[in-house]
């Protein structure tokens, strides 16, 4: 179906087509005027109650020996206090493994794990009451760090590996070899709208939940499971999220479960909205990694064999760690061919909050690892790191990934990097940086150009499916619904552009509606950058179905051939000439009893992945990009500034260039935050101390470079059969700012040529100064 659809797409004249236009976000006007409604803005029915989570203030891990909630119950405004024994169904809110209790029973396994909830007349009353609990825990020594967990040999999931040949022997025998370790921190999502859910009890125990989630279907299933209801009794709706970034893929479940549990217990609407500090303490983050790298290489910097040991902190449960760590492995090659390779992954279990999806989903950690390798080889050989990178690019005859999929678009990667090298004036600027460094003692500059190759598709193959529901009304307007959720990325607008184009109506005739599990069921999360790929295609298919029926009808009615009929600009054209309006056609079709509603269903073709055999073709295609960053560091304080960034990114044939640029710039800055200022800091006992924006620092306006050139690669279109030959854009740009990290590394390495800086991520002023001190003392990584 999809290939057929595309052939037809190609034939279509693009002049009046809405797809491809740089239109504004569909809610832009509402955003700026405060009219966009988020879950907490929904008008509260009379009698609405508020839920606050309850946990032990200090305890981190151990058996619960006392829970005295009497003071909580007596606090003003409290209507109910619930614990695990009040759960009518299954006490679990995990996405897969069944290992995340909604409320802890005998023991807690990380700081702040929930034990009870308070339901009160006001949110402030609920929050105040929750702090009155007397909870005692028999404290055990927690396993907190990656090193601790390695020592304890604790994992949440089995190890996994990709292997080609015997890299260990090659590396050992190699004349030139590099062995190094890279530690990289995790990342807090810091979506501006915190976790929130609002549950409305209905008759027969039914539950409607307004949730800020990327995965309404999973929230539906979780609420049903926890309340002991059939899935059919629960409806979940989400109009928009105030940001998500992966943090509301699996971890919106618990708050919806709490709100629903409270609504079930009290029979009143109940809302659970976390305070920011609670949100940051109670929800998982990007996995932090400790990576051991080894490579054997030749005098030109070309690698002969590579060994990468990925150790990640998953936290207390599996959550989505399987896919995340797999994706880290899938991206430990980034754009480079490894003739012989071993990539191994350990998924470590710790007494910390369960880490979860975050834009890039493990990919960034894998990619940063191999970029450290490239930098290391270049520094050892005294070569320009860009030349070493290019020497290792996937190329003809050397285009098979460590997991067996071939990289077919290697020419795009090479062309894109060449173009950026030219447009960023990389070579001349490298010389200018060297000249600056020769003249300056306090400040040092660095520059780097790094590529991104990101695999598109859920690696859990069955998730690559989507549904849509379209109605054409008798006035020629269209109701659009699909399984994708809107978190700011502009998915609703992109899909509306597709629907308008397919239906031949103007965009204003397409009514965008909230994602709702009762309209499109059994959906996948809006994740893996797949939102537009999947839901766009499902929508196009639904539109095609309706348009097909209309054409068949009109051909008979007007006695013309179907091929001569086109729907465009709210008109039906016959032989290119306007015949009647789509409004009139719809009315006519209705009178002739033509069904003008359709669902659409799409499953991604071509992908197969046998995880056990490490064999197949897990990705439909790759998205490419590259960036060049220049930084300056202060060798007395470790302060750093990004001075200039140039980005070139491949989105195939863009569905909406404005929204795509927005994803690229936003992803870049978010990734830059991960690698520079954003530091998660736990104290020795296992309490997260950076649990508010006062202590956890995401980029502000002044952190973006003064010169920030972002351009779309002039693509001939995605060779894979995607919707309008576009490419996914949500996650890939997050990895572009690896060039910032490498540029910092470059600046530090200027202090002692030939030594690989001991720079870990995030490169905070402290991390930079530490690496500066070390390299001045001759210590390398």
């Amino acid at each position: 179906m999809s290939a057929d659809l595309l052939e037809k797409t190609k034939k279509r004249s693009s002049s009046s087509q809405v797809v491809g236009k740089p239109l504004k976000h569909d809610s832009a006007q509402k955003h700026v005027s405060g009219k966009a409604t988020y879950v907490d803005d929904i008008i509260e029915p009379h009698g609405t109650l508020h839920v606050a989570p309850g946990y032990a203030v200090d305890a981190v891990c151990g058996r619960i020996t006392k829970v005295d909630l009497s003071a909580v119950r007596e606090a003003p405004g409290v209507v109910a206090v619930l614990d695990a024994s009040d759960i009518p169904g299954v006490n679990d809110c995990s996405p897969v493994a069944g290992d995340d209790p909604v409320l802890a029973t005998d023991r807690i396994v990380f700081h702040s794990q929930l034990i009870f909830l308070v339901v009160a007349e006001t949110r402030l009353q609920a929050r105040k009451a929750a702090r009155l609990a007397q909870i005692e825990v028999e404290n055990e020594t927690p396993v907190l760090s990656i090193a601790d967990a390695l020592k304890a040999e604790q994992t949440v999931l089995p190890d996994y590996e990709f292997r080609r040949g015997s890299p260990e022997q090659i590396i050992e025998r190699s004349e030139r070899r590099l062995k190094t370790r890279l530690v990289m921190g995790g990342q807090e999502h810091f979506y501006l709208e915190g976790q929130v859910a609002f549950a409305f009890p209905g008759e027969d125990g039914d539950m409607l939940v307004q949730s800020s989630t990327q995965h309404p279907t999973e929230v539906q299933h979780t609420v049903a499971k926890v309340l002991g209801l059939d899935d059919g009794a629960v409806t979940v709706e989400v109009r928009r999220m105030g940001g998500a970034f992966g943090g509301k893929e699996a971890q919106a479940n618990q708050w919806a479960a709490l709100a629903a549990l409270a609504a079930h217990a009290t029979g009143r609407p109940c809302k659970c909205r976390l305070d920011r500090d609670d949100d940051m303490i109670l929800t998982g983050k990007r996995h932090d990694f400790m990576v051991d790298l080894a490579a054997g290489y030749d005098g030109s910097g070309k690698v002969e064999a590579v060994q990468i040991e990925l150790n990640s902190r998953c936290g207390c449960s599996a959550d989505l760690s399987l896919g995340i760590n797999d994706r880290a492995m899938f991206h430990s090659d980034n754009s480079y061919y490894y003739p012989q390779v071993l990539i191994r992954s350990k998924r470590l279990k710790t007494n910390t909050v369960s880490n979860t999806a975050f834009r890039g989903f493990g990919g960034p950690q894998g990619m940063l690892s191999c970029e450290r390798l490239m930098d290391g080889i270049a520094i050892r050989l005294g070569l320009d790191p860009l030349d070493v990178r290019k020497a290792n690019f996937y190329r003809e005859g050397a285009n098979t990934t460590p997991y067996g999929q071939s990289v077919d678009e290697y020419d795009v990667l090479a062309k894109l990097v060449d173009q950026l090298e030219g447009s960023s004036d990389y070579r001349a600027r490298r010389k200018a940086v060297e000249a600056f460094n020769a003249e300056n003692t306090v400040l040092k500059k660095g520059i780097a150009l790094t590529p991104v190759k990101f695999g598109i598709a859920f690696t859990l193959t069955h998730l690559n499916q989507a549904g849509a529901l379209l109605h054409l009304y008798r006035d020629g307007s269209v109701h659009l619904n699909h399984g994708g959720t809107e978190m700011g990325q502009g998915l609703y607008q992109k899909v509306a552009q597709i629907a308008a184009t397919e239906m031949g109506v103007s965009l204003s005739k397409v009514k965008i509606t909230a994602t709702n599990t009762s309209k499109v069921a059994n959906t996948s999360p809006t994740a893996a950058s797949s939102g537009a790929d999947l839901n766009g295609m499902a929508t196009a298919i639904a539109c095609r179905e309706i348009v097909g029926r209309l054409k068949t009808f009109a051909a008979g009615h007007f006695e013309v051939s179907e091929e001569d009929i086109t729907l465009r600009d709210d008109q039906m054209l016959i032989g290119g000439k306007p015949k009647t309006s789509i409004k009139a056609l719809a009315q006519l079709a209705y009178e002739h009893r033509i069904q003008m509603s359709s669902s659409g269903f799409y499953k991604t073709p071509e992908i197969v992945w046998d995880r056990a055999q490490v064999k197949g073709h897990p990705f439909l295609y790759y998205a490419y990009g590259a960036s060049c960053s220049e930084v300056v560091i202060d060798t007395l304080t470790g302060e750093m500034k990004v001075e200039r960034v140039d980005v070139l990114h491949d989105v195939g044939t863009s569905l909406n260039p404005a929204l795509d640029i927005g994803q690229i710039e936003g992803g870049f800055v978010q990734g830059m935050g991960w690698l520079t200022t954003e530091e998660l800091w736990f104290d020795e006992a296992g309490h997260l101390k950076t649990h508010a924006p006062s202590t956890y620092k995401i980029p502000t306006a002044s952190d973006i470079p003064e010169i920030f050139n972002v351009a779309l690669y002039e693509s001939e279109g995605n060779p894979a059969p995607t919707i309008y030959r576009s490419k996914a854009v949500g996650e890939p740009p997050l990895m572009l700012p690896i060039s910032v990290f490498c540029a910092i590394n470059d600046a530090i390495s200027s202090l002692n040529k030939g030594v690989l800086p001991k720079l870990d991520a995030p490169a905070t002023p402290e991390a930079i100064l530490k690496a500066v001190k070390a390299i001045k003392a001759g210590e390398g990584a």
Partner: protein, 495 residues
């Protein structure tokens, strides 16, 4: 005595006779007025999603300033015009700042957007000629966006806020000024009873009297710290005495000796006076908190709270500032550094109020440098804050006052380094060594989420070196990653 809160809202005076003393402005908007356009992002004044604009009279002229409504107490808006995101759209459509954000794709998830809109509204009304990208960055430092990467928002700001004033608020400014002037009565305001109240005295006498009667009351100035006691610690503060209306308490002036800052002067106001002492004061103050925090927060509040991480005290101590305290029993002055006794302990007696800070100008031979080191450039609490005031004659250091924040439980002078520096020659790096090693022993800093002890020590040493390098070379052009203090070098103030 007035027993109602009065403020201007959508052109009309709103009068409230009952509210809890610690009701925040945000809760008032969202829960009582049911205006949900203003968002709660962090509930601690750091993300800016809750930004609203307050219109106030300054020297008789209407000035709009952005504030974080999540940590501002409702009672603080007495006599102000309150403007929220819902108010900007007129019959002719969106406000210019809203329109620019729409046109330039400045919103994605949209949750931070109302806050940005309101910050931009105040920037629009600041009507700054020659507005630069750097000006916008500084103005927006208190608004976090996680989606866009800021570029389109900053572009929208440059677009909308450089074109002159042409909105409904400017058109009716004169009318608004009259209405606000009418609200400015000389009456104390108290909402509540004797057990629970929000009290906003108008005179100093009335402040001391009431504080004398209720020494257990909480003095509230900008609420940028006390606000968090309420929203995060969930403390019940039944008695609030708000200092913002006390006549004269916010007054600043300069004379031959130097600058006198009223303790109630906001950072925004104080900055205008202090920057004439040395450009580094301006550089550092423009990085304290955010525009919102500086519009509310006060220099006096920062001192009186005794925070070990405040950025002003080290600079003021290095400059040799003195403070004045008053109570029913009289007044006294003391050097600022003696005010800080120990962590969380200040030299302030029951019923005593900090009234003013006197900052001397630099002597002819004195060189001043100040550095704020933090993980993030803008709106971050310092890991280390350093201020140096060196008296240099003939290229030799005659005396030194060096003060640090973040290195001890209180803002503290580096006495060892100060002594070791006397006699050091600027042209002779070897003569600096004694001081550079002495500073190691001046402090025993702690490790926390902002920095480790060893980093703090290294940076203290590095900053002393930086100050000496800069003073010796008479330039900071190649010693700072952000900006430089020589405004005339190369013709541009690069920041």
């Amino acid at each position: 005595m007035r027993t109602t809160l009065r403020f201007l809202r959508k052109g009309k005076v709103v009068e409230l006779d009952r509210f809890e003393p610690t009701t925040t402005l945000l809760d008032y908007l969202r829960l009582q007025e049911r205006s949900t356009g203003t968002k709660e992002g962090c509930n601690e004044g750091d993300c800016g999603a809750c930004t609203v604009a307050l219109g106030r009279l300054r020297d008789g002229k209407l000035v709009y300033e952005p504030v974080n409504s999540c940590i501002l107490m409702l009672g603080q808006i007495d006599g102000c015009e309150l403007v929220t995101v819902e108010d900007l759209e007129g019959p002719d459509g969106l406000h210019p700042v809203q329109q620019a954000l729409v046109e330039l794709h400045g919103s994605q998830c949209g949750f931070c957007t109302p806050g940005f809109v309101m910050s931009l509204f105040t920037l629009y009304h600041a009507n700054t000629p020659g507005l630069t990208r750097q000006d916008v960055n500084t103005w927006l430092a208190g608004n976090l966006c996680r989606c866009t990467g800021y570029r389109p928002i900053v572009d929208a700001a440059l677009d909308a806020c450089s074109a002159g004033l042409n909105d409904a608020f400017a058109a009716r400014a004169a009318e608004t000024e009259v209405k606000l002037a009418e609200l400015h009565d000389a009456q104390d305001m108290r909402v509540g009873d004797h057990e629970r109240f929000f009290f906003a005295p108008c005179s100093f006498q009335s402040l001391l009297e009431t504080y004398g009667k209720h020494p257990d009351a909480t003095l509230l100035s900008g609420a940028t710290d006390v606000g968090l006691w309420v929203t995060k610690d969930l403390r019940d503060l039944p008695k609030i005495i708000y200092l913002g209306r006390v006549a004269g308490l916010s007054t600043c002036y300069e004379d031959e000796q130097g600058i006198r800052l009223g303790a109630g002067a906001s950072y925004t106001v104080a900055e205008e006076f202090l920057k004439s002492i040395d450009p580094d004061l301006d550089v550092v103050i423009s990085r304290i908190g955010s525009k919102q925090v500086r519009a509310s927060g006060t220099v006096g509040g920062n001192i009186a709270n005794g925070s070990p991480i405040g950025d002003m005290p080290p600079m003021l101590i290095a400059l040799g500032a003195e403070i004045e305290l008053q109570s029913n029993r009289g007044r006294r002055t003391l050097p600022l550094e003696s005010f800080f006794l120990d962590y969380g302990k200040q030299d302030i007696a029951e019923g005593e109020v900090l009234t003013s800070i006197s900052v001397p100008r630099l002597g002819e031979d004195e060189q001043f440098r100040a550095y704020k080191i933090s993980k993030r450039f803008d709106q971050d609490i310092s890991a280390v804050m350093a201020a140096f005031c060196l008296s240099v004659k003939g290229g030799v250091v005659k005396s030194a006052r060096i003060a640090f924040g973040g290195m001890a439980g209180i803002p503290k002078r580096a006495s060892g380094a100060e002594a070791a520096l006397v006699g050091a020659a600027l042209h002779d790096r070897d003569s600096w060594k004694l001081a550079l090693s002495a500073i190691e022993n001046d402090f025993s800093p702690l490790s926390d989420m902002r920095a480790s002890a060893s980093y703090r020590r290294d940076v203290a040493c590095g900053l002393l070196e930086k100050a000496l390098v800069e003073i010796a070379a008479k330039s900071s052009q190649h010693t700072r990653v952000h900006g430089q203090r020589e405004l005339d070098t190369g013709g541009a103030h690069v920041s």
